[in-house]
Symmetry: C2
Amino acid sequence: MMKNTKTVAVKASGNYDITIGKGLLSNVGEILKGIKKPCRTVIVTDSNVDPLYSDAVIESLEKAGYSADKYVFAAGEKSKNAATFVEILEFLASEKITRSDLLVALGGGVVGDITGFAASCYLRGIDFVQIPTTLLAAVDSSVGGKTAIDLKAGKNLAGAFYQPIAVICDTDTFETLPEKEVACGYAEVIKYGILFEKEFCDSLMSGKCDIDEIVEKCVIFKRDIVERDEFDNGERKLLNLGHTAAHGIEKVSGYSLTHGQAVAVGTVIATKIAENFGICKEGTYREVEKMLEEFNLPTKYDITAEELCEAALSDKKRQSSKLTLVLPEKIGKCVLYDVDVENLKDIFSKAIG
Amino acid sequence: MMKNTKTVAVKASGNYDITIGKGLLSNVGEILKGIKKPCRTVIVTDSNVDPLYSDAVIESLEKAGYSADKYVFAAGEKSKNAATFVEILEFLASEKITRSDLLVALGGGVVGDITGFAASCYLRGIDFVQIPTTLLAAVDSSVGGKTAIDLKAGKNLAGAFYQPIAVICDTDTFETLPEKEVACGYAEVIKYGILFEKEFCDSLMSGKCDIDEIVEKCVIFKRDIVERDEFDNGERKLLNLGHTAAHGIEKVSGYSLTHGQAVAVGTVIATKIAENFGICKEGTYREVEKMLEEFNLPTKYDITAEELCEAALSDKKRQSSKLTLVLPEKIGKCVLYDVDVENLKDIFSKAIG
């Protein structure tokens, strides 16, 4: 029986529930049974997650009457490429998986993104479920239906908007995460606080929040944005807070900085820009730094304005001669702010100087 | 100026016009200007079509203020694979094509299917235009938003439902088609007649139809079905008339028979099954044969019931223990008919015996 679980309903092009709780891996079959009749399932996971959690999920699925196959690829962002994507599709086809079957993405953001994209393309779309096993995936990539792979020219350049039929988040799985990975998740958690709610930031700093509550709060923030702008034509861009600079930082670091660490530094840079523009009051920058430090996240990285510029301008969201920055007005409220591409180097330069 | 063009409006998840006429390649830019402001375009085409038509399209685009790049791949069904698909995506990314730019699919079904699929995935979806240069693509694959690539296990196993922003059909391009290719298109044209309208069959047989009228009529038939069942959950299955057997025939022939030729044979088999079931009156079978013969299409192929069965059962549309056949009640009206998989061999056996 499932006790103390939280459910967040998402109404997008597909409607689905996000279930959050402890020990949920052993309830995956039971939860699915409420929304899809027993069928064949293929669990897609990576070499880190597989030995930890595949067995529990398979057992739960089989107990509920589903059959379960498994596809495992090498863990890491390097696997989030076209080759892995095609291998998954070929595997599904060779196993004669049909339109009425189900993919199960078991793992972090890489697993969720690539599995969701494969689900959207295989036979022009079959159902899939997200089972995030990292805090970062739980609060960010598993919700909202953005799926993707990286191309040679950059991250997330191919993909689909494709909603899962369920997200099942067992917060016990976060306990096996390395500390750096947990911090990475908190970078996105803090991002939501800066974007939407000062009180949430305060309660994070007080250390009194239960992890289930934190995840619930974040997915509600994200859900609300996704419901209003599923296809990323407006408000959803707010979720890129810290990401414009983060892409450059990740790249320059040779991906030795995690996405979350880069977002942390990027958020500090965005806040400094906001201060320089007079959009937020002086000192906001320091407040943001303090929060990130509290969660063992970096606030600085040795990068030049040129490097930040170059990465920002190769970003796929750019249109024409303007670039949209996400800037805090205060902790709990941010705005979209268009700047001329030609001023960008100067803007970055003043923010990191 | 465009004289004597026909326009068919499609209202699906995206709304768009199909423009049909002679000499339209030189009007592509002009037509596009009415729906999308000048941007970068990438023409995707194959090695057969490129030397014939790319220059005319590029000239027309540039005259209207669009810039045009080109991606050419080797002609043939063999290119409709994951490797070509990924190469197109990497090309777009390396050229820094943005979300506001445009892909132009210039060619037959292979070009249209793979380009549409790439457009649906690149940056999670950018606009694309279909410019079919074969009769088959004009009446079938360019309309309705089904895009796909083949996987090792079979044809069209990965793809997306993704509508173009326009279809521009220059019927002059059919004049460079080999006779076999034209016949291939007529297999689908006759299919529409058997599915929807006896009078259309009669006028085809009379030889009095203008090619523009034939294309217009067929895309209206298809448009009407797509508008009612865009995602292929019901009525759209009617368009598979002749295709269940055709897939097996293509395969067994080692693809020496074209898709259209296989569909012709498959349509005869479907009609024979309908006669055997007493669904249509005796002699319908002979009528269908006569029409196909008139257009130089085969009506028989040396294949066993086992081979037909195996191919039919690996078809992606199959669910559980039933297979849906499309069977003529009479020329101009067909029905969906579920049969038990276990009876299938016997059914085929009696139809080809």
